[in-house]
């Protein structure tokens, strides 16, 4: 197989001798193009507008202390009976609140045992914090961790995402510039920009295919 | 392939060459004459080398470049003076302006590039170089315009034909559904892939008929032959004619 590798690479190296077909001033043109786009004066407003455009409900709350009440409201609105979060310190008040809620079963994600996977696939709602938000596209940026695994934002019908306003950046390019990713890429990073959807049948939109049917976003701060 | 849209146009010249194209020569010569006379009306001398034949697009599109090259060489040799070469066709204009340089190498390629730089599609020339001002003397008429693909996309001439038509005060330009879609001609495609071509032109005919137009114009004879031939077969009352001919008819003094 390393023969295959060498053969392929050698063919490509031979082919590389062919000169570039056309001249290229790409980086400069990219800068000029971006400069001509309308300036983003209010990233938060843009972020929320993009959420609106795809029908993602959201609330703005002043601080973390307001999170339990906001989430509680959603639990009632969407008829949630079982919810799972990770053992993240910032979510302790929320977990306490939910544990005390009548009619809501709280699961805390603690480890990757099979039972936990079953729970992930059977709860009504998963709640996660997210690392950042991208205003241009209305995206949540999540890097899964031991406490908040990948499935916590994927396997259940409702996903609640908690985003700090100060973690909003205008564009993905700008987020990349902070160098965090380049330094040591995490095993997985996902941008989530709405509820799972498809239009594979007659181009008719259907929401909630394999991922969550409902995405709820709380913008904090 | 590049959109050969120009940024600068020269001032009005004293004389131009006219390249009639083989389709116009044999099938729509009145339109060719009209196009010439409309240029002459602006006080420009039109030179028509009688030895011109065809731009070479048919063999070129079929993959026969050697044959296309031989004919291209002969055509270019007929237009030595550094004056504009005006062509009443988007596809032939694109052949000369976009593809001729690619047929040659070295010094011949440079010559072809220089030649290509002097090639103007007729409506483009009328609007951007001659800056004509048309007085419409015709009866009210509802007209649909079909923008041919080569004119629109290869030459980047989108505005000139409609600019001319909107100068005709008696002409009501009717929008056509899917106007910028191809008519399905594509030269030999129309016969080599006849079922597909027929399906495309059928949709185009329907769209043109539904526009409520009484006449269909285009700046490409291939498209006119195709759409016109299909409409005629359907016994459509629509009159199908080249843009230059419509303009001449309506702006001629009685």
């Amino acid at each position: 197989m390393s023969d295959t590798r060498e053969q392929i690479l050698q063919r490509l190296r031979n082919g590389s001798a062919t000169p570039l077909h056309r001249p290229n001033h790409r980086a400069e043109r990219e800068r000029e193009w971006w400069a001509r786009q309308p300036a983003m004066t209010d990233p938060a407003a843009r972020f929320l507008a993009e959420l609106d455009a795809v029908g993602t409900p959201h609330v703005e709350i002043p601080d973390w202390a307001a999170v339990p009440a906001a989430v509680g409201t959603w639990m009632a609105e969407y008829g949630v009976h079982s919810v799972m979060t990770g053992a993240v310190p910032a979510l302790d008040p929320l977990r306490q609140h939910l544990a005390g809620q009548h009619g809501v079963t709280l699961h805390t994600y603690t480890d990757g045992a099979l039972a936990q996977q079953e729970a992930l696939f059977s709860v009504d709602c998963g709640i996660t914090t997210v690392q950042a938000g991208i205003a241009e596209t209305g995206s949540l940026l999540l890097v899964p961790t031991a406490e908040q695994p990948r499935l916590l934002s994927l396997a259940m019908p409702i996903h609640v995402a908690l985003l700090e306003r100060r973690a909003l950046v205008p564009t993905l390019a700008q987020w990349l510039e902070n160098g965090e990713y380049r330094g040591e890429p995490p095993s997985n990073l996902v941008l989530i920009s709405g509820a799972s959807r498809t239009a594979d049948i007659e181009l008719i939109l259907s929401v909630g295919v394999h991922g969550p049917k409902v995405l709820l976003v709380a913008l904090i701060g | 392939m590049t959109l050969a849209q120009r940024e600068h146009y020269p001032p009005k010249p004293e004389a131009v060459y006219f390249y009639g194209t083989c389709l116009m020569d044999t099938l729509y010569p009145q339109a060719g004459l009209a196009a010439v006379e409309l240029i002459e009306r602006e006080g420009v001398t039109v030179i028509y080398p009688q030895d011109q034949t065809c731009c070479g697009q048919p063999p070129f599109n079929s993959g026969y470049r050697e044959e296309a090259r031989a004919v291209a060489r002969a055509q270019m040799a007929l237009f030595p003076k550094p004056i504009p070469v005006v062509i009443p066709s988007g596809s032939c204009g694109a052949m000369m302006r976009v593809h001729y340089p690619d047929l040659f190498e070295g010094a011949e390629r440079d010559q072809a590039l220089a030649f290509a730089g002097r090639v103007y599609e007729w409506s483009e020339f009328m609007v951007h170089v001659l800056r004509v001002s048309l007085t419409d003397r015709g009866a009210p008429l509802r007209v649909a315009y079909h923008p041919s693909c080569h004119l629109l996309r290869e030459l980047g001439v989108g505005d000139a034909p409609t600019a001319l038509l909107s100068q005709l005060s008696g002409v009501e330009l009717r929008p056509v559904q899917g106007a910028t879609e191809c008519c399905g001609f594509g030269g030999t495609f129309s016969v080599k892939q006849a079922p597909i071509s027929e399906a495309v032109v059928a949709d185009k005919c329907r769209a043109v008929a539904e526009s409520g137009a009484e006449a269909l114009v285009s700046a490409d004879c291939g498209c006119l032959m195709n759409i016109g031939g299909a409409l005629a077969r359907q016994e459509s009352p629509l009159r199908v004619l080249p843009l230059a001919q419509l303009i001449k008819e309506r702006t001629d003094e009685a």
């Binding site: 295959t4 193009w33 380049r182 | 060719g32 071509s197």
Partner: protein, 486 residues
């Protein structure tokens, strides 16, 4: 799928007369075109952005061998295993080997055109492995035992009635044409499969050499499921998918999602850099990448044809193509259909088998106009036509023995004769005079003339639905005799 000129002619003719198919395509493709158009129009100078997309791909392709090595190094360093496959058979063998080593009984698949290209499913199934497509469109065509007919919307050729029938027949579900209900059925079935699967197989939209990142975009969540739940993830990619830097991604994503579905971004953008790390609670234990050649390195070697490899598989060219709109994807007889298929398939399958596809175009240029990475498809079609009709294989390195595979002695003679005629002004003028005289013979009333009875095959094909124009009595040459000649 094996392309073939006669089959193409037959299938295309059948397709244009299939009113159900035509209705389905009109309905769906019109909408996708509008969405793409609106999304691009919302950007200032979107045409410039397309040019920039082209430049990004061009730059990365110029460094392709180096970038592939850098990609491999970064992937390997983080525990992703890289396999190189010369052709479809090697790619399938590599996936099978992984599956057999892991005792895989069930594999779930995210949408990947490369696996369709190699016909992976059949290979795995022949070795006793159940393969389930999880993208809704792919799942539908799998149930229907068909191939996808469109790169982005695999079941676009079907309407909800047909899909409802299918779900009823194959899944035993109550018959419905409600789209939400059908989606819910698929969700129920496939959730079980995700949890039971031993392996997830996906494609790769972009592979970033700088960091060893696999970037996958999707809307449904099946890609995330397939790359998270099963213990093994296999990603298949054509070798042209590698791009140099992370900073290339935002622009390419901006172009891809708008061009494909009219979205500012797809619902999920998934970046994978390693298998599950110690302490992480989910994600696959093993991640593999299959880098596939299958003719791409040959395309790469030609400076003009190399632009074929810019393709980001958005299908914008399919959606706008007058030919694709009338015949749908299956008629092409190759997994890559539409304009991109017409340049890619002849280069992969050879001019002998697929050169006819290069002729199935009017060269209208709409594909080039919408391409987010500005592949000059009409120019490449012309080039392929030239190669296919070349007088000999000598000096035509890219296609080797395939050059001139479609050359017809008769057609060559016709064009030679054409050249001789058109290189002789006197002969040309004489011919046009003869034609005009001949046309004048015959009934003057109506539109019919002698022309309409000439039994040439080409003219017969024209005359099925069109009248021929009558040549004028006096040609333009004659009308302009009084003008200056030089």
């Amino acid at each position: 799928m094996k392309p073939d000129a006669a089959t193409f002619a037959r299938d295309a003719a059948r397709a244009v007369n299939d009113t159900v198919l035509r209705g389905n395509l009109n309905h769906a493709l019109g909408q996708i075109r509008e969405k793409r158009h609106a999304a691009m129009a919302a950007l200032t100078d979107s045409e410039d952005l397309q040019q920039i997309g082209s430049a990004i791909k061009q730059e990365s392709l110029a460094r392709l061998p180096e970038l592939l090595e850098q990609l491999e190094e970064n992937l390997t360093r983080r525990g992703i295993q890289v396999h190189w496959a010369e052709n479809a058979a090697e790619a399938n063998a590599a996936v099978l080997a992984i599956a057999q080593r892991r005792g895989v009984k069930l594999a779930v698949k995210g949408k990947t055109m490369v696996s369709e290209e190699t016909e992976l499913n059949e290979h795995l199934q022949a070795h006793g492995i159940e393969v389930v497509e999880t993208d809704l469109g792919e799942y539908i065509v799998q149930l229907a035992e068909q191939r996808p007919s469109h790169i982005i919307a695999p079941a676009i050729h079907m309407n909800r009635q047909e899909i409802g029938d299918l779900f009823h027949d194959k899944l035993g579900e109550a018959h419905t044409v409600d789209v939400q209900a059908m989606t819910a059925m698929a969700r129920r079935v496939l959730r079980e499969k995700f949890q039971q699967a031993d392996m997830g197989i996906t494609g790769v939209n972009f592979a970033v050499a700088e960091t060893g990142t696999l970037c996958l975009v999707e809307n449904e969540g099946n890609g995330r499921m397939s790359t998270t739940v099963p213990p093994v993830h296999v990603a298949m990619m054509g070798l042209e998918k590698v791009i140099a830097n992370l900073s290339d991604l935002p622009t390419l994503l901006r172009l891809l999602t708008r061009s494909a579905t009219g979205q500012v971004i797809s619902t999920y953008v998934n970046w994978i850099a390693s298998p599950r790390r110690p302490g992480e609670q989910d994600g696959p234990e093993e991640v593999h990448v299959i880098i596939l050649d299958n003719g791409r390195s040959a395309i790469y070697g030609d400076g003009e044809l190399r632009d074929t490899l810019n393709c980001v598989r958005c299908a914008a060219c399919l959606n706008i193509c007058p030919v694709y709109n009338r015949i749908g994807g299956h008629a092409y007889g190759s997994i890559y259909s539409g304009p991109i298929g017409k340049i890619l398939t002849p280069q992969m399958a050879g001019l002998g088998a697929a050169g006819h596809l290069a002729g199935a175009s009017t060269l209208c240029g709409a594909c080039f106009e919408v391409c987010p990475v500005k592949i000059p498809i009409p120019d490449l079609l012309l080039r392929l036509r030239q190669e296919a009709n070349a007088p000999s294989a000598a000096g035509r390195a890219v296609f080797g023995a395939q050059a001139g595979a479609m050359r017809s002695g008769t057609e060559a003679m016709v064009w030679k004769g054409w050249q001789v005629l058109h290189n002789s002004p006197a002969a040309y003028r004489a011919m046009t005079r003869l034609v005009a005289l001949a046309a004048a013979i015959g009934p003057r009333e109506g539109r019919r003339s002698l022309w309409d009875h000439v039994p040439l095959k080409a003219l017969r094909a024209w005359r099925r639905t069109r009248w021929l124009p009558r040549p004028a009595e006096r040609s333009l040459h004659r009308l302009l005799r009084g003008r200056p000649n030089a």
